[in-house]
Point group: C2
Chain length 252, copies 2
């Protein structure tokens, strides 16, 4: 079977996080072109950026169940998903949208159930499933946000892909002005307090949240990479298996 | 917990099946208004009508795997789903779209896996999950069509709802010009050959296919109703538990 690769592209790369539902169409098209040559085995996950986060904040979804908030937040991220899917299609991939709200159950904000069968079958057939940060039902709290990062970490845990790569708007994990080549669990207490959130509105934890997801994943033996997806050619290099950015390394 | 009701509205009620992607907006709004007073516990499933079926036929999805066919068929039914969801929202329900392609795996055209957790949680929280006939990945054939009828039958089997009602463009199961008050498994051999397909393009089996789904369901102890959703007030009556159309009855 094809080797599985999971690529996440952050909401800050795809959208202007400071402006309501503002997709960076040129960037999305460039990314779609980079992906086109490497789409075999690929699962794509994207963040919500200024599509989902602003709605989720407006309805205070993290704190309070809101039927309208569920619908409007979902609709918003789907609008971004449609733009991404259409761009991939035009670039020559075979994308299919996959909506976590239809397949995922949370409990206190963490994924309890996710049906991955359709995603695996899509990859086997040469399709590129395109998932996204989404609202999802939560057994404890009614509804919550399932971030792209949590989706990546959960999918990677169950599918054990060859490549797990998180494309962000920065070069990797930056500590005192330097990009760390590697991070391990034991480094987090030292560097954690100095990691700021990413730019604009982000309710899903910024770099520290991302790193925590990936360190949990590393604990289970899956390494991953945080790299700069705004730099031309980086996505292609990462999907080809080259090293870039910060490697979140498993324990030695 | 709230009693669950599953209502399916056929594609022929919601769309003009003879014209490409032609939604009957007035009918959809009327139906949404009828549902609004009875949305507690409700799971809504709708057919694809002239949205999905025409694409599925064009790409010959039933016979041959087509990446483009998967995407275009799905996109088409989602367009109808968005119209239905928006109409329900305006009428005062709290709808949430649920896309079977994201949560369902087929094997030779039959549902092998479907994640129902999100649907159940939505109902518990007073939301109305709105599912639809969709394309879905098929472990044997690559991709296939999951009809609204099959979704109803599968959901009903696992959730054991109080009410299972299929709204069509006819008064029920019609045999020699008369609406049958009840149908049981043993009647099918007698009446089966005289049941025509429903009007327009339908790749999912028409009345006979519908009846077979519901008789399988009756075999497992769940009765259901086939009624005319084009007649004003019928949906309200059926959701209130009144008898209408043809009852597909469990074995005595």
């Amino acid at each position: 079977m094809t080797e599985i690769k999971i690529l996440k592209i952050g909401g800050s790369v795809l959208t202007d996080k400071t402006r309501f539902e503002s997709a960076k169409i040129g960037e999305i098209d460039r990314i779609a072109a980079e992906i086109a040559g490497h789409s075999s085995g690929l699962i794509l996950v994207h963040g919500a950026g200024s599509f989902g986060h602003i709605h989720a904040k407006e309805y205070n979804l993290a704190e309070r169940f809101s039927p309208e908030g569920v619908l409007e937040t979902h609709r918003s991220v789907v609008r971004l998903n449609e733009i991404v899917v259409e761009s991939l299609r035009r670039a020559g991939s075979s994308p299919v949208p996959v909506h976590p709200s239809s397949s995922t159950l949370l409990k206190n904000g963490r994924i309890e159930v996710i049906e991955t069968g359709p995603v695996v079958e899509m990859v086997k057939r040469g399709l590129v499933p395109v998932l996204h940060g989404d609202v999802a039902m939560d057994r404890a709290k009614g509804a919550g946000i399932v971030s792209g990062d949590q989706l990546v970490s959960h999918l990677a845990r169950s599918l054990r892909p060859e490549i797990v790569a998180l494309g962000t708007a920065v070069d990797g994990v930056i500590f005192r002005g330097e990009v760390l080549a590697e991070v391990r669990r034991e480094d987090l207490s030292r560097i954690g307090s100095e990691l700021g959130p990413s730019a604009g509105v982000d309710i899903t934890g910024g770099m520290k949240g991302k790193l925590e997801e990936l360190l949990d994943l590393a604990n289970e033996g899956v390494r991953s990479t945080i790299f700069n997806a705004e730099k031309k050619g980086m996505i292609e290099r990462v999907l080809a298996g080259e090293r870039a950015g910060t490697l979140v390394e498993v324990k030695v």
